[in-house]
Amino acid sequence: MAEIKLTKVPFEGTAEQESKLRQELASIKTWEGNLMPALQAAQGIYGYLPIEVQKIVAEELVLPLEKIFGTVTFYSQFTLNPRGKFLVSVCLGTACYVKGAGDVFDASKKKLGISDGECTTDRKFSLVSTRCIGCCGLAPVMTVNEHVYGKLVADDVSGILDTYIKA
């Protein structure tokens, strides 16, 4: 069973975001098939769909919260986790994987204390595993935002991430 990853990151939504969402929902809720556009609007405003945001959608659309949550967890376009300042992607494509990307990914998880798809509670780092990013010659590869790090071993991870932790 793949676990649904719920965020532990404290909610930082603002009153402006909430009023913007409620305003957008006021027209969306009159549409037939309003749930998907409502969730897209919400994610567009907050970047992710934590319980606080789903409760607003449930209230405005007069739908049970579980109906919202079931829909959010069905579609891969929706995320329950915010994105951190630095997005750490570890390629688990075939070439990277056979060159030891699994160990690099494990080292990243350990260093950041989060698992695949999650965000650190200080919102600094998000961690995702990706498929081939097209630079197999550098395998195994990790990216942090737009920076690419290649030919890694697991022991490199701590030092690379430290530079961002200090940033």
Binding site: L6, Q54, T73
Partner: protein, 581 residues
Amino acid sequence: MEAKMINLKVNGMPISVPEGTTVLDAAKSIGIKIPTLCYLRDINAIGACRICVVEVKGARSLVASCVFPVSEGMEVVTNSNKVLDSRKTTLELLLSDHDKNCLGCVRSQSCELQELSNEYNCNPQRFSGKAIDYPLDLSTPYLIRDNNKCILCRRCIAACDKYQSVSVIGANARGFDTHIGCAFERDLADVPCVGCGQCINVCPTGALREKEEIDDVLAAIADPKKYVIAATAPAVRIGLGEEFGSPVGSNVEGKMVAAIRRLGVKQVFDVDFTADLTILEEGTEFLGRVQNGGVLPMITSCSPAWIKFIEHNFPDQIPNLSTCKSPQQMYGAIAKTYFAEKMGIDPKDMYVVSIMPCTAKKFEKTRGNQSAAGVPDIDAVLTTRELARLIKRQGILFNDLPEEKFDAPFGIGSGAGLLFGVTGGVMEAALRTVVEVLTGNEAGPVDFTEVRGMEDIKEATYNVAGMDVKVAVTSGLANARKIMESIKRGECDYHFIEIMSCPGGCINGGGQPIKTAYERNNTDIKAKRATAVYDTDKKMPLRKSHNNPAVKQLYKEFLGEPNSHKAHKILHTKYGARKNY
């Protein structure tokens, strides 16, 4: 206007059925049963499980007969090899990641997946591969969710949403990871689940079941320090026989009493007695509210899932609830105060078992303000199904038993008390008493047929001693929600409302014998069980609660008057708003 008739052939036989009929029902009309798993009439027609597939000439693939309407000239085959093979493969795929520990499963022999697998001669080991492994949800005192036995038919979701508008369960995630759960993967105890158990009643497998208290009861019976008494709710005697082969709608009170006595309890009492007591307390409370300008409409408080529902969803209307404890809790409260005192037993040593058609009663006994003697009023709640299992496990030959009578002093119940088991029954019981009290006419009406029946919402107005008393009765929390919303909008001028959580009332409670989808779809189980209640009431010499001699004696010896200070302390309770998410 008469429906247009459609001509078609099913397995070569020409038939004519009304337009809009599904292929499933068309086949049934000529004696052909198409198997189903996900389909439940009126609430779950989603064509998801693919067990009801049939061949339709000209159709691209097999079609799901539960949602496929008939059309002119259609040719349907329900039993070709292609159809049978498809159903068998679907079943084997369902079995491939199903927890197949069937031998000890509580639903063995009442499991629809097991029955079909057997009919189709399935090989449960045909497909091997990834297996599911979900933790059980044991968070509530009333229910166990075991997703390892779930086939994702979504019948529980439909019951929770359509019957009850509670809507706390749904399908989470996607593909192989799809599972039934609550929002944000919370346990049932952390969402506004009301414990009604309707999800259990519609589950085709053992994925949903009550949390058993059988072992607790057996341990108490075996403990020489415990004085164990048991009592049964009105609807238990109506359902129990079905577990021993009786047709739906059989009243097996006599054998039920005999069986419980043989379990080794000290006394077998009848909750009908405290239902009568409830009428005296609640009727008096109602008259008080009418005469003193109290909060109206007054709403009944016997149904614990309804109480939890209002606490979650309509906290502002809590003052409308009667403060009376439910008959179950009154029974425990009186047993551990009056009866314990009379028998010279320390209430701590008295073990009170309540046998109920209900799962929410297991929650109710854990509520606050339900400890009249300083210890919980009720120690254990068994559902009708648990009682049947216990009787079987103890080797008691139910059908061979003589008919026996309840014990004194709480073995006398009126017909009015019995009516508590069916929607409209509490209202009718109350009217029998209230009308007589207000008019002083002992020969007053006994039958209030306007509040009987299985309609969603029933209304009636009775002119009682010059005053028009407007009443409403409903069952099923989706209907209750409608009434509550109209009260909130100020559209209702009812004086008294009866609400039971389960559609049809306790006879269809979440603890009653489980009926297959086929039985549910093709017979009116609620109406048959209700008929058994009304037929019994009609034949009873004692039909009004206030004439119950045991109730009279209880007031005389112990409580004083209805709604006295002592009665309030022992028989009334409090409610409070609950958080939702």
